[in-house]
Symmetry: C2
Subunit: 339 residues, 2 copies
């Protein structure tokens, strides 16, 4: 009997689109769920909305023992979730719950290390362990849900709030996490000095949620401008982030090739541009802002830079180069969750 | 090199105790996490607290294709989470997030069925799908996180709020879910009529979170009594629930053998008492209340019944029989998550 498509045949994007049909309209549009007064019923309208986000990290899909210790896995699981809160406009987390699944033969020492890594991230970036569940299973995984709240003085950051004319800002360099993975896999990387290798490994294992960038965003808002910021995090890559913003905002994103936020450690590497655009897991924020606000933010936040702009939607697609126009080609081997 | 104990060697109880050390003191004491004003920072103190709960359902651990269809799996995953919200005193859910993990060869039809089952439960008991994540993995599983809030007129239900002299009340009969599992596994069940088989199967596949019982609890509170209710849900079995309440409240729970809340369908089955006490997954609430409140609740809520009381802690343990005293023996083959 024909059963229709499998998840691998659908692919992650189409799967998420179909799952979104079980949620209220628009609920799946952003990095995380915004819980406004309407969803929370009796809460006073002036109370800052809550933000809820779930991310799952699966062994041999998102991490492997070859490239990460237990504490790195825990740190990353928490950091990835908190990064999504930052991408929604939160400046910190209330805390998180963790569903741990692992085979019965898993050493307690591994679980202890993973929770210590989560606790280390929470200790330095805010939030506490709130609760969770655990179960046996064939494969180690952590499903983490983080709860945050918008600051009283700042609104939400939504993917669809961009407009033609907005400037695109990246809060930091890209490609270093992918470089770290290459180091850990023993790929050939000519002329990469030892200090650069160490920085790249650390960036891959210990990403940092950019709550500081959200605080700088709030502090740099020109008094004349209302709150309107589009953005998402770059966990799936800089190009994907810019493209998502553009699609949700019904614009095209033009990136300036000469202003690509290449990590300094990528200098001399053949894959530098590919890894900057498509490497993923840098967990920076990609924002679309009015030019005056963008300028103030770049001035105030070290490492933040101008990377392009939003324009009216172009017939050839949501993502292109400023120089010469035309789409940015995506690499052939994109990461697939359902392999 | 010795790595110390494995998760199977620790067992679930000791694992949760150790994981609780990574959370603030007391944070792991209840069925779910209570987020009061202190955790949420700037929220007004009078605002009803939020409740957050995570439960994971793993294929071949919590469910199997032999006993449940996809829609049953989704329903149960959502119901188990909402039951924990009810056990904390919520009368409904804001909604939930879902982390879906499944092999790439999983048919979309199975995932669609599971989400339809969740949507059906939410549609009839309140709450919406808020967000989530998905990933490939070796085994199907759903890690669900539910968010609820306490009603304005009702306080929290906590495991540790019981006192000697409290009456134990069960909101319904026990053992029918385990009976349903026996039917589905084809175990020998003499003299079980067809209608009873159907009710047992339905109880196993489609448990209901007892938000209605929490509403009745609030409505039946005698005006002279302040809010103080201890309780938890009976997902791990009636005896385990009573024992947890007793331990957290530093009491001993005495169950009355002649008042055991045996499901009517268990009549004539040799395992009736065992399944009532230890079968699990009935998702009723077990509450400890002042006698006057307990009496009013039993009068108001159909199916609720007096099952025993809390007394001063006894040297032989937290759980015993009213008749004759002495501990209730636990069966040899308890369910183990890390088997």
């Amino acid at each position: 009997m024909p059963e229709g498509p499998t998840l691998a045949q659908l692919g992650e994007g189409e799967l998420i689109r179909r799952l979104g049909a079980f949620a209220p309209p628009g609920q799946f549009d952003d990095d995380a769920a915004l819980l406004g007064a309407a969803l929370l019923g009796g809460r006073p309208a002036g109370d800052p909305p809550l933000v809820l986000n779930t991310d799952v990290l699966v062994e041999d899909v998102h991490f492997s023992a070859a490239t990460m210790g237990a504490a790195d896995v825990g740190w990353r699981a928490a950091a990835a979730n908190l990064s999504d809160l930052a991408a929604m406009g939160c400046r910190g987390a209330v805390g998180l719950t963790v569903a741990l699944v692992a085979p019965g033969h898993t050493p307690w020492a591994w679980v202890e290390g993973a929770y210590a890594g989560m606790a280390e991230l929470l200790g330095s970036h805010g939030g506490v362990l709130l609760g969770g569940d655990c179960s046996g299973g064939r494969q180690r995984l952590l499903a983490v849900t983080a709860l945050g709240r918008l600051p009283a003085g700042g609104g939400p950051i939504r993917r669809g709030d961009g407009r033609p004319g907005d400037v695109l800002v990246s809060t930091g360099a890209h490609g270093i996490s992918r470089l770290g993975l290459a180091v850990l896999r023993g790929e050939a990387l000519p002329d990469l000095p030892a200090a650069g290798r160490e920085r790249a490994i650390r960036a891959h294992r210990r990403p940092v949620p950019r709550f500081d960038a959200v605080a700088a965003l709030g502090a740099s808002r020109p008094a004349a401008l209302d709150w309107r910021v589009a953005g998402c995090d770059s966990s799936d890559g800089l190009a994907t982030a810019a493209s998502c913003l553009a699609v949700a905002s019904r614009c095209t994103a033009l990136l300036s090739r000469s202003d690509l936020p290449l990590a300094a450690e990528l200098a001399g590497q053949a894959q530098a541009e590919d890894w900057c655009l498509w490497g993923g897991e840098d967990f920076e924020l990609v924002l679309a802002l009015e030019p005056a606000w963008a300028e103030a933010l770049v001035e105030q936040l070290e490492g933040a830079r101008w990377i392009g702009r939003l324009v009216e939607p172009q017939p050839w697609g949501p993502l292109g180069w400023t120089e010469g126009g035309g789409p940015i080609a995506s690499p052939t081997a994109a990461f697939r969750h359902f392999g």
